[in-house]
Amino acid sequence: MNITLTVNGDDYPLDVEPRRVLADALREDCGLTGTHLGCEHGVCGACTVLVDGEAVRACLMLAVQCDGAAVRTVEGLAGPDGEPHPLQRAFSAEHALQCGFCTPGFLMIAAGALESIGDDPELVDRLVESNICRCTGYEPIRRAIMRAATDCPPASDRSPTSEGS
């Protein structure tokens, strides 16, 4: 099937089988290997990306379901000039990653909700509870997301081109 994925603002016209999951289309067809597959059954969350602004498991969506949708991956987090996203800075500052394999999923689930955290600090717990990390024990990830939420000016997010200040 011919579809177009809009990933981080770029259009990728693809010819995919209906069975191809979004994560494989991103990794193999778009060459965006920052989205990792850790379990392929929706549990670990390493493949979490934003589809039309909402965090989803890219292993539990078919690529054909995302025809015409706006997908955002870890490669699209930094600003256009390469300026790191507040989450990226905060993850580094808080040692919120060790092997780095689960990291893109945590970054994206947080990116999808970062601006809401100011009103609801407990949201951070629900975000961190959504994915699995086997290295850090989660606490540094929680701290990093809190830090980014504090550093992040409101509504700085969502659109891949609106940041980088």
Binding site: P18, R19, G45, E54, A55, M61, L62, I109, S130
Partner: protein, 334 residues
């Protein structure tokens, strides 16, 4: 863990979807949220010939109210119910209490309530609520519309009364009145697994007495169970006799949330129900008469019956507390 090949259609109307289902294919599957279906396809335990993606079908993404019932369309995602206002009254609170137990936010952005009911996993929260409240499942095929009562719908693990050429367009729940209190308590080993037991309860109180009780059990049999024996015990019970001191949510849920105060939950003294308390008796009735737990790792039937008995009691106390905090300010006992 890659799905086997299949054909794919994405109809825009229910009619087109029904036509696709009515085809002569061997194995046709409806894709709504896909959070269970695609998982199973990864495992190749389900290898459909045709997937009918209903996500583009207009009109299925709504919650509608009519005539004392709430109609949940086939594309209403779990996350909608996180707001207690998504559905009016106590039912909205019950849904909000239940939905946070379903997986985690990125699954809830895709998965749907109707999808859970169609999937019919014995541990499903929505299925337990559906049987407790006598929900009605509305299915459509080329032959027309059919309504199936929840009690007739669930036939076993992942087995339902839906025919292969039928699509569930919506599920209808009765709205709950203002004098009804609701509770939902789930017990699971970690945040990430299926419920070992979950209990949904709605109790209607009049003049301080329980006049109606509805209890649904998840993962207490090969299908969702309505705990009728437990409900019978409750009719006429005096709620003022209930020690409804609310547990901390974490303790109620059997969840392992750390607590902030240094000495933990020291003050649960007196919170164990006396054995002759109606809620304790209801718990025992649910465990011994209503449930038929199957053996599974870390939860044999004996342990599961214990959990059922305890959780039913706790859920009922939560429901009475809910009734008290919501019904009284609106004008006392109605």
């Amino acid at each position: 863990m890659k799905p086997a090949a299949f054909d794919y259609v994405a109809p825009h109307t229910v009619r087109e979807a029904v036509d696709a289902l009515g085809d002569t294919w061997r194995d046709v599957r409806v894709l709504a949220g896909g959070q269970s279906l695609i998982l199973e396809m990864h495992m190749r335990r389900i290898c459909p010939d045709l997937v009918v993606d209903i996500n583009h079908v207009a009109g299925l993404d709504r919650i509608g109210l009519d005539d004392g019932t709430v109609r949940v369309g086939a594309l209403v995602r779990h996350q909608v119910f996180e707001s207690p206002q998504a559905v009016p009254g106590p039912l909205g609170r019950l849904c909000a209490n239940a939905v946070v137990n379903i997986a985690h936010p990125p699954i809830r952005t895709r998965g749907t309530l109707v999808g859970s009911i169609a999937w019919a996993h014995p541990a499903s929260e929505w299925c337990a609520i559906a049987v407790a409240l006598d929900a009605v499942i509305e299915v459509r095929s080329s032959g027309g519309v059919r309504e199936i009562a929840a009690r007739d719908f669930f036939l076993g693990p992942l087995q339902t009364a839906r025919a292969p050429d039928e699509i569930i367009t919506s599920v209808r729940f009765p709205l709950l009145g203002g004098s009804t209190g609701v509770g939902f308590v789930e017990h699971r080993r970690t945040h990430f697994c299926f419920a070992q037991v979950a209990v949904a309860a709605a109790v209607t109180v009049h003049d301080g007495l329980i006049v109606d009780a509805r209890i649904g059990l998840a993962n207490c049999a090969d299908r969702p169970v309505r705990a009728r024996a437990a409900e019978r015990v409750l009719i006429g019970a005096d709620v003022s006799a209930a020690n409804d001191h609310p547990f901390a949510d974490a303790a109620l849920a059997g969840d392992h949330q750390p607590v902030d105060h240094p000495f933990g939950d020291a003050d649960l003294a007196g919170n164990r129900l006396p054995a002759d308390h109606p809620f304790a008796r209801a718990g025992r009735a649910a465990a011994d008469e209503d449930a038929a737990p199957v053996d599974e790792p870390y939860a044999d039937p004996e342990y599961r019956r214990q959990v059922i008995a305890v959780l039913v009691g706790r859920t009922l106390r939560q429901a009475v507390a809910d009734w008290r905090s919501h019904a009284e300010p609106e004008g006392g006992l109605r």
